[in-house]
Symmetry: none
Subunit: 185 residues, 4 copies
DNA sequence: CATGAATGAGCCTTCATTCAT
DNA sequence: AATGAATGAAGGCTCATTCAT
């Protein structure tokens, strides 16, 4: 996984570097080293470092949207269950660090911001459809979805300790607050 | 504010560069240009680029914790009102972009992560004390505070649109969900 | 004309590049692009970039001397008329830029200079035979021929304006000075 | 001569490289080697390789026009004698190879062509004023000057032999044809 | 043969760092 | 202390060349 065509190998290596060190860490030379080839070969596949960055973002957007949506639609079960599986994919160990890196990158590159907007709109759409039935008040639904999305992201960016609880416990409790289990107390 | 001693001028310029472009953008040469001096002079104040980064983080931690806490304690009014003013300071136009940059940086540098932990713990402490009286259940309080903190940060990192509502409206509604105003006037 | 054998296609493409950008512009990669093939194929025909340059010069010398002389001898009419047609060929839109490029190249490569010497001697020979009958004084003939040859070349290298006259007019007048038309009709 | 400020040293080294190998031979690294410094230092003086080329052309234009004109006007003697000294300067061992290189360069770079036009116009002006009195017919004067200028340049680009005569002899004879000594037949 | 892929050398450029003044 | 100058390492890109298929 990760080395089908050499072209994709460069892209995957680039995404790994992006996840680890941000866009500045996407250096042709170090990717080449990681792939066990020489940097010159890169230019057989991409015209430019910039072209690689663009294709990395293309791949990221594809995986983050198209693939995730496809998962959502292919899966069976309740909307909630399917959205959960889509979220698991989105925040998988592989995609999550890229996601965080792209968010930071988007703060300084409008083209990246535009892609992120497309991706985030899809994700919010998924959230809305997952929980829509439970909250007829549109504004309330939107607020709960944004809070959920925020927690999903920021929990990887906030370093605070929670004394007697683990982060997972706190997040679980937060989920219950946002989307209380349907039935009875 | 911004240019007291030349030493602080370098640090401030460094924080501005960090806010705008991340740690890789903290380049001695461009800071010197921004300060209107030659880069050689830098080494009269710092042994090293690394030393500047450390001192930038020192300054950031100082401003983000000590100054904010001092504000909190100096101010008068309800705990909530004082915490709000502290939060306004924390997420001021000046400190916020540095905050976001540091969060991203912390993902790849353990020393930065450790500082962030100290800062975030202080902030969570402020949140807890602001809303503690309203939520006797400790776990619930923690969950609400984490959600609030997450929203404060992630709202700057999420690019989704909200159709008929503005982001501010959605955030306001979220705040009401998390910390409902006391039901009487 | 231009793409008989692939071998000649490379040579022709090389000469075009030489004419346009000098010897440094004769790059295997760009010739391959121009020919719509991959650069690897080049080495099926030539051992080396140097070998191509040599063969380009061979072709140029052939076309500039043998072909021109053949034209001169094949044509009918007065010596002058035949020499004029030979000159037209030499300074055709196709051969002229190569000629100028070779002259510059010859300044820094003795092997090229030697070829140029052979070519220029043939041309001066043609000039001498064209105008020899009109100027019995050998030294004077030589001077007139050199001036004519110089003008033919340098007029493409001199950028001066001529106020009320066009370059063509000035050259025509120069030709009359060098080789005055027989004084009768 | 050639090493006043380091800035001028780079320019002079660049002009030497241009004269010897054309614009492509103006390589920062080899100039640095020739100057006994490292290439990195170059960027303290010029923003760019392109900036060096521009300044080289500035210097060449200055030396070829301003300096030559100044010589012409400062000198005493007949117009012809002064023009001769200006020409000697123009075609000095130092300036001539640069002149030839610039001519070739001008064929492929419009900005260079424009500079050459300015320079050549000045030179033709000098020639006209040197010989103007002898040839009242303007068109004839122009033709003779162009022939003279052409010979001055092309004699360095034409490789033909002249059998019993040397190139210098032929050129001398050519000069007499173009500008016959005033006195007796 | 021709292609796809890769190599390695060379060049331009940036930048942290040093040092004499 | 601050400047001007230089260094050296690194990274982006081009290109001649090789080689397996």
């Amino acid at each position: 996984m990760g080395t089908r065509t050499p072209r994709e190998a460069w892209i995957d290596a680039g995404l790994r570097a992006l996840a680890t060190g941000g866009p500045d860490a996407v250096r042709i030379e170090s990717l080449a080293r990681a792939l066990g080839v020489t940097k010159g070969g890169f230019y057989g596949y991409f015209t430019d470092r910039g072209a690689l960055l663009v294709e990395m973002l293309d791949a990221w957007e594809q995986r983050s949207v198209t693939d995730v949506i496809a998962t959502f639609e292919r899966e069976s079960g309740s909307v909630l269950a399917r959205a959960t599986r889509a979220a698991d994919l989105t925040f998988s160990e592989e995609l999550l660090p890229v996601d965080l890196a792209v968010r930071d990158w988007a703060r300084r590159d409008p083209a990246v911001a535009e892609r992120l907007r497309r991706v985030d709109n899809q994700r919010m759409g998924l959230l809305r459809s997952a929980f829509g039935s439970a909250f007829p008040d549109e504004a309330e639904l939107e607020a709960r979805c944004l809070l959920a999305f925020s927690a999903a992201i920021a929990s990887h960016l906030i370093a605070a300790d929670h004394a007697q609880h683990s982060r997972e416990e706190v997040l679980l409790r937060a989920a219950e607050l946002l989307f209380p289990p349907a039935d009875d107390g």
